[in-house]
């Protein structure tokens, strides 16, 4: 197996393992999931080890094209640094799996846990192995997602949920910024390939967008590594199960940020901006983290703040821009991982055995947990920087670098003091951890009263890590030395400095600083000891300044309260403002381009006004304005006036040479009027007296609407006039006129356009009508009248009462007499209108008319019978099956169109010819007529369906009432 495939397998294996573990979700195989995870981690470790010889020679690359045109490829690349981190991730991963196998409760659904853990491991490996910076950001985000899932593993606990969400939000913000930063970086470098980016360092640092990219990338890195001011999520993430804390929040994920800084160190570092930004973040984190750690009462809280502080240390080192500092940074990342992970595990054991992590309740555990206690002590000592442990060496390197001058700024000047002070804090909290937990009197009322040593294999990981601390601390050059060197060379290349990992460098400034820190730390603890035993959680000055609370409050305020306020301000759920906006937009869209381009309307020529035509529109305008005026209180009047405007429109169509339009408009108007009347019955009564419009605001609104209406009116007027005065360029019109007869076989050009040239439009149009009819039908099937319209109309009540109170009359006499004579005439009109419909249909192709007009006419014939006799009478006699008409119509239209295929022509190609018929002579037969028949059929069906559906509502409520009445009688 080659190195490349090993590399790919290394990244994929954890994900496959994750899926496999997820598949175990339904089973009870807890142990199986743990074993499988262990095998995966072990396999990763072994593979990594095998890769070392190749990596030592130079980076191993694995490439698969993903989005090559944009430079995003699935490139994996293992160099020394990546190798070191891979070892860390897989190695500690293995230990954590072993630990978790015993840590997690018997009842826990652990397959889920291991599934997430393995996926996280894969993502983390992805980060360190990415050879493409965008791919890196992909894995970066994946670690955020899986850490969210891991922290919230016990999601029934509010703390876990909140902690998880905060971690995700903070690192998510960082991730988005990181992506943007990396994009800029990639474009400056001309490639997203890591090697190319690292090689383009000079160009990057000189680019005007350098600072932008730097800031964005730093936000990503600093949030992930919990640096001030983004540190607050980490302590809250401690709600996670301890293995998660040990793995993610000490050894791996929080290292991703500093890892990235190391990774991009050759490309980004060395500038003043870098020094200041990274330095300030690092130094403040170093100090504040250590300070906060001293005052924690929760074991994991202490470790969390300690982690923050140590990450600050690493960041500070990286800020310095000196190669030796970079070496120290890499080295300290490893060291911190080992001792902090072991400490978390130890804390987990303590928690597991005693049931609490509160240092105020813990005491004297050494007698119960001697082995764990000793291990914790060694690890703590490493954390405190005690000689002969790994933490000491890297800390010495840090102190050495702290006294060097790098950019000659105030940071340089304060750094030695800060470093020493932080060192002292670190000693103090380490000491406190050991002293409080393991020494002193035996604990009283622990949740679990009899603590004892954990199972053998649960302690094993701690033992192993502590051993590593010792080995590295005592013989650094023989243990980690070569591997560290490979890593350092991979980062620094030919800038690799001379450095020494020796334990003893003689008495020098760093050693003096260490001594001061050690002594100062012990003294500090001695002073604070009693206070700490009693005080509340958190440092004195900042106790109430809890990052979590602030974050939650800010988040709720911004993302919820402000958002809701803004949503209601910037949007609306009411219709009127929406239509107002649409009207305004339409007006502006028409006017602004004309205004910008300097359009000047032509002056009107009054000479050509036909006075009769003007009179017609005087009538029409009065009707339109009258309808607008009356529509609120006098609905019927408005409807009648609307009819007046419609009639004027009709006359206009005739006047201006559009007889087809006139006929269609008239027929449509008749049906529309009846439709609206059918609906009017269900609207609430409205009387003018309840006018509440005197309010000033309402008047203001009306005035605004009035202005808008006038504006739209004037706009349309000007626009219409301008365009009517502009003769249409004859691009297509004459084509239709020329060929309607010769090729379309009809003299009515409009009809030929409708059924032939643009028959496809007509097909769509009848579909619209059909759809609407179906929708109307569906809606009315569920129609439920408002309570105040269920009762019969007042007129009917009066007339029924009249019939009822006279002995000689029976119910319904009034209406029977009312319709007796008219219905006779209306019935006799039925065959007449049918004949007329056929007439309109037949002549359509040559003269005004056509399928649509005929269809509506036919529908009116039916409507008339419903008017004359009512629903029951009409349906007793006429069985109209509207859906059949509609379906037939649509299919007929399509079939006509498809028929052309048989002759090798496109859809809707028409064929017109004259046939000789006996007695009659030549008669035109056009396939378009068949199409028009389809239109006719659909229009009849749809119109009748709409009308009938509406008309049926009256008798439906009658039925409901009848049922109710009979029920009341029974009762």
């Amino acid at each position: 197996m080659t190195g490349e495939t090993l590399l790919a397998l290394l990244v994929c294996l954890p994900f496959l393992g994750s899926l496999a573990a997820a598949a175990l979700l339904r089973t009870n195989s807890r142990v199986l999931a743990a074993r499988m995870s262990g095998v995966v981690a072990l396999a990763g470790l072994v593979m990594t080890a095998f890769l070392y010889p190749a990596v030592k020679r130079g980076p191993v690359r694995f490439e698969v094209e993903w989005l090559p045109q944009l430079g995003l490829d699935f490139t994996l690349r293992m160099d020394g640094l990546a190798w070191l981190f891979t070892m860390l991730i897989t190695g500690i991963g293995l230990l954590v799996v072993v630990y978790a196998r015993y840590y997690m409760s018997e009842e826990d659904p652990v397959p889920r846990f291991f599934s997430f853990l393995l996926a996280f491991m894969g993502s983390m490996l992805g980060i360190v192995l990415s050879g493409n910076i965008i791919l890196l950001s992909v894995f970066w985000e994946l670690t955020s997602i899986f850490s969210f899932l891991l922290i919230s593993y016990w999601h029934h606990n509010a703390a876990a949920r909140d902690g998880a969400r905060m971690a995700l939000t903070v690192t998510g913000i960082g991730g988005f910024c990181l992506l943007a930063g990396l994009l800029i970086l990639g474009h400056i470098a001309g490639s997203y390939d890591l090697d190319a980016v690292l090689a383009a360092g000079d160009r990057i640092r000189a680019h005007p967008l350098y600072l932008t990219a730097l800031v964005l990338i730093l936000i990503g890195a600093l949030t992930k590594s919990a640096q001030v001011p983004f540190h607050f999520w980490l302590p809250n993430a401690m709600a996670a199960p301890t293995p998660v804390s040990a793995y993610l929040h000490s050894a791996t994920m929080v290292k991703a940020g500093v890892f990235l800084l190391v990774r991009l160190w050759p490309a980004l570092s060395g500038t003043y901006e870098w020094f200041m930004l990274v330095g300030i973040a690092g130094i403040s984190t170093l100090l504040l983290g250590a300070y906060f750690a001293m005052f924690q009462q929760d074991l994991k809280g202490l470790l969390a703040y300690s982690t923050i502080s140590h990450l600050g240390l690493i960041t500070t080192l990286l800020s310095l821009g000196s190669p030796v500092a970079a070496v120290a940074a890499i080295f300290h990342m490893m060291n911190h991982a080992t001792f902090k992970c072991s400490l978390f595990m130890a804390a987990g054991i303590i928690d597991h055995e005693t049931g609490t992590r509160d240092m105020r309740r813990l005491s004297g555990l050494l007698r119960y947990l001697p082995a764990t206690g000793i291990l914790a002590m060694v690890a703590s000592a490493a954390m405190a920087g005690v000689p002969l442990l790994n933490g000491f060496i890297s800390k010495e390197m840090f102190f050495a670098e702290a006294v060097e001058t790098h950019a000659d700024s105030f940071l340089d000047r304060i750094l030695p003091y800060v470093a020493t002070l932080a060192g002292a804090f670190s000693v103090a909290y380490s000491l406190r951890f050991i002293h409080v937990v393991f020494f002193g009197p035996p604990p009283v009322d622990l949740p679990k009263p009899e603590p004892h040593e954990p199972p053998r294999w649960m302690r094993f990981p701690v033992e192993f890590l502590v051993l590593a601390c010792l080995v590295v601390g005592i013989i650094p050059g023989m243990s980690i030395g070569p591997f560290l060197h490979t890593a350092v060379v991979s980062v620094l290349g030919d800038r690799t400095p001379e450095y020494s990992l020796a334990v003893w460098h003689g008495i020098n400034t760093p050693l003096i600083m260490s001594t001061i820190a050690l002594v100062g730390g012990i003294a500090l603890y001695a002073v604070l000891k009693d206070y700490l035993a009693r005080c509340d959680d958190g440092p004195p000055l900042f106790r109430h300044l809890r990052g979590q609370r602030i974050f939650e409050r800010v988040l709720v305020t911004v993302s919820w309260k402000w958002a809701r306020w803004l949503e209601s301000r910037l949007g609306t759920r009411n219709l009127q403002p929406q239509l107002r906006l649409v009207a305004t937009a339409g007006l502006l869209a028409g006017v602004v381009p004309l205004y910008i381009s300097g359009f000047s309307p032509r002056p009107p020529a009054f000479g050509e006004v036909d006075p009769v035509f003007a009179a017609i529109w005087l009538v029409g305008s009065v009707c339109a304005v009258g309808a607008a005026y009356q529509a609120k209180y006098h609905r019927l009047a408005a409807l009648v006036l609307l009819g007046g405007a419609g009639i004027s429109t009709c006359i206009t169509f005739v006047w201006l040479s559009a007889p087809d339009l006139a006929i269609t408009q008239l027929l449509v108007e008749i049906v529309t009027t009846v439709l609206i009347l059918l609906g009017l019955r269900w609207l609430p009564k409205r009387s003018e007296k309840v006018d509440n419009s005197v309010a000033l605001a309402a008047r203001g609104r009306r005035f605004r609407d009035f202005l808008l209406a006038v504006g739209c009116g004037i706009g349309m007027f000007v626009f219409a006039y301008a365009i009517m005065k502009q003769p249409v360029p004859d691009a297509i019109a004459s084509y239709f006129l020329e060929r309607a007869y010769s090729e379309g076989g009809g003299r009515n050009v409009v009809n030929v356009i409708l059924v032939d040239f643009r028959g496809f439009d007509t097909m769509g149009e009848i579909c619209v009508l059909g759809i609407v009819a179906l929708t109307v039908f569906a809606l009315l099937r569920r129609f439920r009248p408002a309570p105040d319209s269920i009762e019969k109309p007042e007129q009917q009540l009066i007339q029924n009462a009249f019939d009822a109170e006279r002995p000689e009359r029976s119910a319904g006499d009034t209406v029977r007499d009312y319709l007796l004579v008219p219905s006779v005439i209306m019935q006799w009109m039925f065959p007449v209108v049918i004949t007329f419909a056929v007439y309109i249909f037949m002549r359509g192709h040559d003269l005004p008319g056509g399928g649509f007009a005929a269809g509506i006419t036919m529908a009116i014939a039916f409507l008339l019978q419903y008017l004359a006799g009512g629903v029951r009478w009409a349906e007793d006699r006429l069985r109209v099956l509207p859906l059949r008409w509609m379906g037939t119509g649509l299919l007929l239209a399509v079939a006509t169109g498809v028929g052309a295929w048989l002759l090798g022509y496109p859809f809707l190609t028409s064929h017109a010819r004259y046939v000789d018929l006996p007695l009659i002579g030549k008669a035109p037969v056009a396939s378009a007529l068949l199409f028009d028949l389809g239109v006719f059929s659909l229009v009849v069906g749809a119109t009748v369906l709409i009308l009938i559906a509406l008309a049926h509502q009256s008798i439906r409520t009658h039925r409901v009432r009848a049922i109710e009445a009979s029920k009341a009688e029974e009762a």
Binding site: Q795, I798, Q799, F802, R806, P807, E808, R809, S810, Y818, V821, P822, I825, M826, M829, V832
Partner: protein, 130 residues
Amino acid sequence: MTPLDHAAGLPAWAAILVSVFLIIGAGLTVIGTIGFVRLPTFYERIHAPTLGTSWGTGGIVMASMIFFTVLATRPVVHEILIGIFVTVTTPVTLMLLARAALHRDRAEGNPDVPSEPPVPPSAAVQAEKA
């Protein structure tokens, strides 16, 4: 635009006849609507438009028939259909509308309209038997 160029060849007698019918028809119609506007009560007003629907329409139908018949030199009679339909349908609307008005007036207790007609005794007796 000069309308009626097509009518230049129309014989004078036809032109006069057409004109007379046109003026009569349009005149009756407009007189009807004047009455419609001026008359004081609804029941009086319903009489006015019937001028338009009877001989108002008749006049213009006649004018149109004569005009096109002479112009096309063959009988053009389809306008008669308009006359027939208007004559047949107008009473329907008037009847329905007037009866509706009657109801509304009665419901409001308007004293100017007659109440329901008295029932002859025979009918009352029959109803009681039933």
